[in-house]
Amino acid sequence: MKNLVLINGRQFALLAIYITIGDTILILPAVPAQAAGRDAWISALLGIVFGIGVVLLYSAVGKRNTGRTFVDYAETVLGRWLGGAIACAFLVYIFLSSAAHVREIGDFMTTQMMPETPIHAIHIFYAAVILMAAYLGLECIARTSEFFFPVLIMFLIVFVLFLVPSIEPSNLLPVMENGLGPVMQGAVSTTAYPFAELSVLLMVIPHVNNSGAIRGSFLKGALFGGVVIALIIFLSISILGQDLAARNMYPSYALAKKIDVGQFLQRIEVILAFMWLLTSFIKTSLYFYVFHMTLAHLFRLQQYRSMVLPSGVLLVAMSVLISPNINHFQQMNEYWPYMDLILGVGTSLLLLAVGFFRGGSLSPKQGT
């Protein structure tokens, strides 16, 4: 397949922001709150620190394989079979992640907003939009993210400003009463969910037209997203308290229900739901697009568009199959961060290390 699709550095930074905020804005606050209790905001800050390391690693991988995607690079460095195996694992991971994102939307809609609607109906309609985005390609997804960004920022500012008056600092005390262990446990998920999942962008890096701007845009985007996530976690803990933040499935949605300006402006949680649907939509469509790119590179296809509809059927089926109920789905939060870390950070480290030792024997023209 030819790399005719190009996006610019700013669009790349925006995609990084959308992936970082993505579904995590609604799902994440509960996970570190379960692990670290009222110190979850420290976990979030640690997550940003580790996350910057992860982003530097990814941009180093991106720099080494200029003009080639992650999969091609894996095959060049590790050979056709071992590299192909890693690409297969990446493919399965990307696909299951997209299915899980669709399922998150379905679970959220059926538990919080439309309890009477069957979950399959929501999945099918949501998947239809994602299929369209994947069919239209990367440029279209990037432009959509650009178009909606001011709206996202406006809603975010409104959301935070209206919540600031209800912060209760006493919810944050005492700080670190259980030592560092729980904080680090929380930091695993605050690193993995927003930052390790940026590994999908490794497939997008060759499409950025200005390869010198990659690291800067990547860092800017991830940092912005990380600050937003840390802010949301901080607000969840300091307003809801650790108990409610940990027990609630969607703490930031519960948070939005608390907004009350002069007993007049109330129940604007749909703003948050809109923000989440938007970021999650762009994240899922990028995942699904990257799934097709990986498929096309792995099997040397001439075009990926014919695969979009059948894999859409598979996506809807898989999003129902992956978990029999919402509690089972929530339990994935225990091992999912490790999967993100191993498949994103672990494989990048492996490729970088092997590529470094094989050194100059790899000419850039060797890959397809």
Partner: protein, 83 residues
């Protein structure tokens, strides 16, 4: 009833996509297309019939739970609200 719907959707997808691939002789694409569509339709029908399909997430859990336990015992990680 749902099976009829699934079959109809699969047929529509075939009508939409197969002729284009057939004309440009993309046999590899055609095979992969068939595989994905068969897998998706099969799983959909299996879910509809309550056939007790295995859950792929359980396999992932079998791989990654030991890693999680290892990481937690090695680095002394623990949860506040456990139990």
């Amino acid at each position: 009833m749902a099976i009829v719907g699934i079959a109809a959707i699969a047929a529509c997808i075939c009508v939409l996509e197969v002729p284009r691939m057939w004309r440009s002789r993309q046999w590899k694409e055609l095979v992969l297309f068939g595989f994905l569509l068969a897998l998706g339709t099969g799983i959909s029908v299996g879910i509809d019939l309550d056939a007790g399909l295995p859950n792929p997430m359980d396999w992932l859990a079998a791989i990654f739970r030991p890693i999680e336990n290892l990481a937690e015992t090695t680095f002394g990680l623990r949860r506040v609200n456990e139990g």
